[in-house]
Symmetry: C2
Subunit: 234 residues, 2 copies
DNA sequence: CGCCGACTTCTTGTCGACAAATAAAATACA
DNA sequence: TGTATTTTATTTGTCGACAAGAAGTCGGCG
């Protein structure tokens, strides 16, 4: 009908365009609005956002740096595929980072971190209540990211955020096929983890994070091995 | 002979400029040729490499993505500082990644990985023999990176490489002040680790990596705490 | 009928130029 | 003389245009 974003050119500020494009594309990729393999056309994006190709390009370089898009030299660029064959490496790193970040949060968190964490947990519980899969996935990632922040190790934070991002795509795929049935159990497990963090019980935090992570991983692995023939390129 | 980079415009190939600038700047930063805080001027680099600002900019965006340079919006961009106050987070992550990657290498390496690893180890031994600190630091990073590659977990590989990069700057600072006295001990420890990997002895690989890493960390921490007043901005 | 080569087209990579934002310098004023 | 304000200068952010590289297309030839 009408061009979605052609006429609105709302006088962006100087440095804001890149960030906006980056975050929007990022969310669209992670929510599978742009499924793996989708072609990314620079001029098309330039038209859509009403700006030149230069800032678009910068956003794409950043996304490529995080492995969210793949760029073939001189040829096309597209949303990166999910490597189903090596999912175990992803799960291995995910479980380890769950443990390490939760452990460090119990050790190093400050008083002002807990309200932030609890706020995320509240949003997560609300999403589960509303059976909103997309919101539940996003708030789950935000919650664990906040816990990692409280651990105050930028290297772990960085890797964990990347894993959580990739996890958003995989979880979306999982709950999509699973009929979006969202268990209350995760909310309770989160509560226990937060309590352990607040009590500064490092070993308990580690153990709870390990169980929490391994349980999720087990569910998803079961699902993906059941649909073995899902080795489509997608 | 000729001016280093003024008249020679050797017809680079289309996509090669960015990579070249990226790698060169990266090495100059990690070898402290460009010390922390050095200003990065785009036009100056453009003249130096005989190209436009666009590819320079792309290389800088990538470097910023890895935390090697900091960019103040609309103002200057400079080599990122080393955060001496939070070195413990760096060491914590470094030790963990040493362990995990070596462990996985023992578990998942293939026959063709070992010659590569041994080649790096030979170069490392040669650098120690020659008492060449810069080469020793670089080959050490390359060796451990190769071990991580044999572990075949891209997430760990990515974080570990970032840690090894940052480590190159810190080690450079360390050996610089230490009179570049290079111990033979590291060569032997590497040999033991490689042997454990080859024997697929996972627990031994883990233990050796842990001891190796903690010993290095201890040395550097002692050094830095002795020079406590090194809390200069540098 | 099928294979090989020139051509077209489409996307990316690079360029030079201009505009905005900020810091530094210069000026005016109390 | 010290401070506020204007001016200048420098660096970044953005733009439109052009050229190179690669896939697809079409025609020619065996």
């Amino acid at each position: 009908m009408d061009d979605v974003a052609s006429t609105s050119v709302p006088e962006r500020k100087r440095g804001s365009g890149v960030k906006m494009v980056y975050e929007l594309l990022r969310d669209e990729i992670l929510d599978l609005v742009l499924p793996p393999g989708s072609p990314i056309d620079e001029v098309q994006l330039a038209e859509r956002f009403g700006m030149s190709r230069t800032p678009i390009r910068e956003a794409l370089v950043r996304l490529a740096g995080e492995g969210l898009i793949d760029t073939l030299p001189n040829r096309s660029t597209m949303v990166s595929n999910i490597d189903f064959l090596n999912l175990h490496t992803f799960f291995d790193a995910l479980v380890l980072m769950y443990r390490v970040t939760t452990r460090l949060a119990a050790q190093y968190h400050r008083a002002e971190d807990l309200p932030v964490i609890r706020a995320h947990q509240a949003r997560f519980a609300a999403a589960v209540e509303a059976q909103d899969a997309l919101a539940m996935i996003a708030t789950n990632a935000a919650l664990h990211s906040a816990i990692a922040e409280a651990g105050r190790n930028p290297y772990y934070i960085s890797l964990f955020n990347r894993l959580l991002s990739e996890g958003r795509r995989i979880l979306r795929l999982y709950y999509q096929s699973y009929g979006d049935r969202l268990p209350q159990q995760f909310v309770d497990e989160h509560e226990d983890m937060i309590a352990a963090i607040e009590a500064r019980d490092i070993e308990a935090a580690d153990r709870l994070a390990k169980e929490h992570a391994e349980q999720i991983v087990r569910q998803i692995q079961t699902f993906f091995s059941r649909n073995e023939r899902l080795d489509m390129k997608l």
